[in-house]
């Protein structure tokens, strides 16, 4: 999904997406825009990054699964801290996300 189409800007019940502060975070060195305070994974999905890591043994892609911080499938390294659940970690200006996405 491309970035713009991934955000629900207008919703029949939730109404228009309220204007919010944005910030820039980097994922493996590439900058992406996040809404301040939204989970890192939400920003990644909005940027079209629908898988966040590859498994150690079989190199299989993993991404959003439980969405509320229970399954740890979304774990990435954030600001140097490994195994951090991206679905419940709020994005902040300058956050550095490192994944093993590009591992072959």
């Amino acid at each position: 999904m491309s970035g713009c189409k991934a955000r629900v800007f207008n919703h029949p019940i939730l109404g228009p997406l309220p204007p919010g502060e944005t910030c820039t975070i980097t994922v493996d060195g590439e900058p992406i825009t996040a809404r301040k305070g939204e989970p890192v994974l939400a920003a990644m999905l909005a940027a079209g990054l629908f898988f966040v890591r590859k498994t150690d043994k079989l190199n299989e892609p993993r991404g959003l699964f439980c969405g509320i911080g229970l399954c740890t499938d979304c774990a990435v390294t954030i600001n140097g801290r490994p195994n951090t659940r991206s679905c419940v970690t709020p994005a902040g200006e300058g956050m550095v996300i490192e994944t093993n996405r590009s591992n072959v």
Binding site: H11, L14, E38, A42, G67, P90
Partner: protein, 522 residues
């Protein structure tokens, strides 16, 4: 925790919030902790209107119920981003603000940790795009991210049915809902909503395999027999990039398991549950209480009542109120719980077997429905058609009607009865129904019928728009022109769209689309 906060409540969802508000109301000091960045629990994601009675916030959207609660909880000390990580004999360990470990030694502990979703394993289940229904609901409704373009939903319980509808509201297609059992798991009213917007519900089907490279690309399903074995020749491939698992929930028991408390197996409430007494104290410890989905998977409304009971009991046990007050309040809350649990929520299966099998009522079911006026009466003028077939505790329609034409009665699980003599077809009832089961039909015009339908999608149709009339099966059946759209604040975001359709179609058309699919229909 200061010495005045003698009650610690873990979890600030509906049960925990209700417990905290209740205990504080009786003079107890309360500390409320939650692992999330905001209080409200699952309420924050429920965009639909709730059922029940006025005191149970019937007709109010879950997201708005959360706001009401939070306003009442204003003075309570809530620690957010604070997961509780351990319970020991005399203390509770938590990570305050996700930064530093600390402990608390409350005199009373109320656990309202809720539930977690079950998973289903099949080839391809780890592919990105496969997620729980709750994950989709969280990311779509709370974080406002479209998690995919087109989804297949496994499981036709209320979660699967409601999330299907919510995906469509966010502009995400749903290819199908598949269900292993021979009938739909959730309420017929929710199934009817998704069938009329064109989402197939395939009973006696299961998932065989999900294929894709870095994401779901194809979903292979198969028909199954009475022994859940695949039926040869029924395999089908659906194009989708998302698969939602709506296969049930289980209470989050990890914290409770650290203590020597008893458990009991209750299959239809999520499996292993804590053993507890009517006052919500656990059987093993008088200072430990449970409430909400942790005490058995149910609804937000029952979670709130259980939370109130737990908060009340904890406050009483600390001497904050006397026995007379306690027993009087307890009786009120237990009576409310009993009413909520009668009927569909935990009661007999509906007799509307057609509706339960397919999401579309049979002719016989419609004839036997007290909310649907007999065909002979339709000549009178515009009339409300209350297509409510199930005994759900709910009565906003009765409350809303200014002409007293709809009767539910004292026992609110009764199906609404329409009095065609009193009904003037004013359409005020249409947006009041949380199940969107009410329509107004006028078959008295010379050369067309008029049908008014509830409508909760963007783009909203506009007066003069020409499109297609859709029946209860989700099939395009005729042309339709939009003659009026009512979408004022009193509707609470349920617009009422009035359509002009060909004569004879007034009791058939139940939805509308602008798509040019009607081109080859007469």
């Amino acid at each position: 925790m200061n010495t005045k906060e003698k009650i610690l409540v873990v979890g600030a969802g509906p049960a925990g919030l209700a417990a905290a508000v209740e205990a504080v109301a009786h003079g107890a000091g309360v500390m409320l902790v939650d692992e999330n960045t905001a209080p409200g629990g699952q309420l924050l994601k429920q965009t639909h209107k709730f059922f029940g009675s006025e005191q149970h916030h019937a007709g109010v959207r879950g997201i708005d119920i959360a706001k009401k609660f939070l306003a009442r909880a204003g003075k309570i000390n809530i620690l957010l981003n604070t997961p509780v990580v351990g319970i020991y004999k005399d203390r509770v360990a938590m990570v305050e603000d996700n930064k530093a470990m600390r402990t608390a030694s409350p005199e009373r502990l109320i656990l309202a940790t809720g539930a977690a979703e079950n998973t289903l394993n099949f080839p391809g289940w780890t592919l990105p795009g496969v997620m729980t229904a709750g994950a989709a609901q969280t990311f779509v409704n709370l974080h406002r991210i479209r998690i995919g373009n087109r989804a297949v939903i496994i499981g036709s319980g209320n979660v699967g049915l409601i999330v299907a509808y919510q995906l469509r509201q966010a502009g995400i297609d749903v290819a199908a809902i598949i269900e292993a059992m021979p009938q739909i798991g959730g309420w017929g009213v929710h199934a009817a909503k998704v069938r009329r917007i064109g989402i197939p519900i395939l009973t006696r089907h299961t998932i065989k395999e999900v294929r894709g490279q870095e994401r779901v690309a194809e979903v292979v399903i198969t028909g199954i027999d009475g022994r859940f074995q695949p039926v040869a020749g029924t395999e089908r491939s659906l194009k989708a990039d998302t698969v939602l698992l709506a296969v049930g929930m289980s209470p989050r028991l990890q914290l409770l398991s650290m203590l020597r408390t008893g458990f009991k197996w209750v299959a239809d409430k999520g499996g292993w549950l804590p053993r507890f007494k009517p006052g919500m104290a656990t059987e093993s410890r008088h200072d430990l209480f449970v409430a909400g989905d942790l005490a058995g998977i149910e609804e937000a409304s029952t979670a709130i009542e259980e939370g109130k009971i737990a908060g009340l009991s904890a406050a009483y046990s600390l001497g904050c109120i006397d026995r007379g007050v306690y027993e009087e309040r307890l009786a009120v809350y237990r009576s409310a719980l009993k009413q909520l649990r009668s009927g569909l929520i935990q009661g007999p299966i509906t007799k509307a077997v057609g509706l339960k099998r397919t999401g579309v009522p049979s002719r016989k079911e419609m004839e036997g429905c007290p909310g649907i006026p007999a065909p002979a009466l339709l000549n009178k003028g515009p009339l409300a058609i209350v297509e409510c077939y199930e005994e759900i505790p709910c009565n906003p329609c009765e409350v809303r009607c200014p002409h007293k034409a709809i009767t539910v009665g004292r026992n609110i699980i009764a199906r609404p009865v329409l009095d065609a003599e009193k009904c003037v077809g004013c359409r005020l009832c249409i947006p009041s129904c949380p199940g969107q089961a009410i329509f107004v039909v006028d078959t008295t015009k010379e050369d067309h019928d008029l049908v008014s339908i509830p409508y909760e999608f963007y783009p909203l149709p506009r007066q003069g728009d020409k499109g297609a009339g859709i029946d209860r099966n989700g099939a395009v059946v005729c042309q339709a022109e939009v003659v009026q759209v009512q979408a004022g604040p009193k509707n609470d975001r349920t617009a009422v769209v009035t359509l002009s359709v060909p004569r004879g179609r007034g009791m058939v058309v139940r939805f509308y689309t602008r798509r040019e699919a009607f081109a080859d229909v007469q």
